[in-house]
């Protein structure tokens, strides 16, 4: 219980990445990335394509297993560990993923299931819960993203924006402590971006801890408590709310200027 109360304080660290290295073949895409995310904080990660943003995000829930480095969530360490670091007991990926929700660029809804089943199936698969309770929870999650009337619809019958909102509802139904967004609006037609950002904005306001990889600079400016600029597998610059206007890093400024 003591741990619980320390989690409740606003400054407590929820997630800590240390020395995360990752190579694909001979090409190293992450050169030892560090990141600290506090509870309730909204982190924005941006940078040119190929800079390792997505790989970094995907290593948080071990969809990409780092070659070395540590991922610490709620006091437990996951991943292979920092090179030469102390040997500690490491948690299993399955356990880690219970705390971490993720939203993908391509939505990745299950096409053979209705919107409601898309949410109810993982609920049923990951916790002891009756079908009735799972569907009730799924319905209330759909309602909170404004899609309850589409509960029986299949992904192919929904617009990209609606699919992404279902995907967000699906991740939230599992009560994650932190939500990861991997370019959630990049696959959307321009007129559909707004509805997804609106859901994310609402989520940010509820105090959910979020790590967002995005090219939507206006949205980043709006929610980013911590802004991280990556290039070539390095964190080149980082800063707080004034980062977009006052960053002294030339590359970051160049990039912001080119995107805005």
């Amino acid at each position: 219980m003591a741990m619980q109360s320390s989690d409740e304080s606003n400054d407590s660290v929820l997630l800590e990445l240390k020395g995360v290295h990752k190579s694909f073949g001979t090409r190293e895409v992450l050169h030892g990335v560090d990141l600290v995310v506090k509870k309730g904080e909204h982190v924005v990660i941006f940078g040119p394509s190929g800079s390792g943003k997505s790989t970094m995000l995907r290593s948080i829930n071990l969809l990409e297993e780092p070659d070395s480095g540590s991922i610490k969530i709620l006091g437990t360490e996951y991943g292979p560990g920092v090179k030469g670091g102390p040997q500690v007991k490491r948690g299993k990926p399955l356990e880690l993923r219970r705390y971490v929700g993720m939203v993908f660029q391509q939505f990745n809804l299950f096409p053979h299931l209705s919107a409601l089943q898309n949410i109810a199936l993982p609920l049923r698969a990951t916790r002891k819960i009756s079908l009735h309770d799972a569907e009730k929870r799924a319905a209330s999650e759909l309602e909170s993203v404004g899609l309850l009337p589409w509960a029986a619809s299949f992904p192919s019958q929904l617009s990209g924006g609606q699919q992404q909102r279902v995907a967000i509802a699906r991740a939230l139904s599992l009560d994650p402590k932190i939500m990861l967004f991997d370019e959630p609006t990049s696959a959307l037609a321009p007129e559909l971006v707004g509805e997804v950002l609106a859901v994310m904005r609402k989520l940010a306001q509820t105090g959910m801890t979020m790590v967002v990889v995005t090219h939507e600079m206006n949205f980043a400016r709006e929610i980013g408590d911590l802004n991280v600029f990556m290039e070539d597998g390095y964190v080149v610059a980082r800063g707080g709310r004034d980062f977009f206007d006052n960053s002294t890093n030339e590359r970051a400024q160049q990039f912001i200027g080119s995107v805005l």
């Binding site: 969809l63 053979h112 409601l116 209330s140």
Partner: protein
């Protein structure tokens, strides 16, 4: 009917309808039993072939290369006579037919499953993992349903091939359509009439099989269409509607 001095006795078909249909029933029985078993073995082979353990993958792919190339006639003679010569154990003709077909078609189904499993988008597995689902659960609830839908048309075509391959089992004395036709012909000497009847039986069965598999395919499509799935999913749809009304 008389053509070039040959007398065609078409009435023979109707007179022997019961025995001809019984032959067809045997063909269906052998082929369906083989279908069920080889679908299971084919899936296991496909998983083995995609295994990261090299030895396992090589064994599975060797099996496929060998058995895909063996004709049904050779396979059934080998199983029926060869096995008995080697081990002194006799299979019944029915068993030999099922084993022969299963050996061959497991190899084909392995390839069909492998292609279907690989066609399921990579993001599906990742989504399942990110949601905290176990690998087995992801396979059963997410990957397999989608792969099955992709595989169904090919499985249907293969099944028609299986039915036709049962005709070669006449050589070991399985009383299927061709064996019945041979027996009738040896008494009546009406090859044209009797083999036409046999051909028609196979074609009609192929039509029915095609119809059934198309219906399955339709019901597996998303959103499902077709009467069967309408009936099967009605309760679920009603449940969702009730939920919408209650929650909204």
């Amino acid at each position: 009917m008389n053509l070039n001095g040959v007398n065609f006795r078409w009435s023979l078909i109707w007179e022997n309808r019961a025995i001809l249909l019984k032959g067809l029933a045997t063909a269906i029985q052998v082929s369906i039993t083989s279908l069920v078993i080889s679908l299971v073995i084919g899936l296991i082979l496909a998983l083995a072939r995609m295994s990261s353990k090299r030895a396992v993958a090589i064994i599975a792919s060797s099996y496929v290369s060998v058995f895909r190339g063996i004709p049904a006639l050779v396979s059934v003679i080998w199983v029926y006579f060869g096995w008995s010569l080697l081990f002194g154990h006799n299979f019944t003709v029915y068993q030999a037919g099922v084993i022969a077909l299963t050996l061959l078609y497991s190899a084909f189904f392995c390839e069909i499953y492998r292609a279907a499993l690989m066609a399921v988008a990579k993001g599906q597995r990742e989504a399942g993992l990110a949601l905290g689902m176990t690998r087995i659960r992801i396979f059963v609830s997410i990957i397999m349903p989608q792969a099955t839908k992709i595989a169904i048309p090919n499985i249907g075509s293969m099944y028609i091939g299986m039915v036709k391959d049962t005709s070669t089992f006449a050589v070991i004395g399985l009383v299927e359509v061709v064996r019945v036709t041979q027996n009738l012909n040896s008494v009546n000497f009406q090859p044209f009439v009797l083999y036409t009847a046999a051909a028609v039986l196979y074609v009609v069965l192929a039509f029915i099989v095609d119809f059934i598999f198309r219906a399955i395919e339709k019901n597996l499509s998303t959103p499902p269409s077709g009467r069967l799935s309408n009936v099967l999913t009605r309760r679920r749809r009603e449940r969702i509607e009730a939920l919408i009304n209650k929650t909204g």
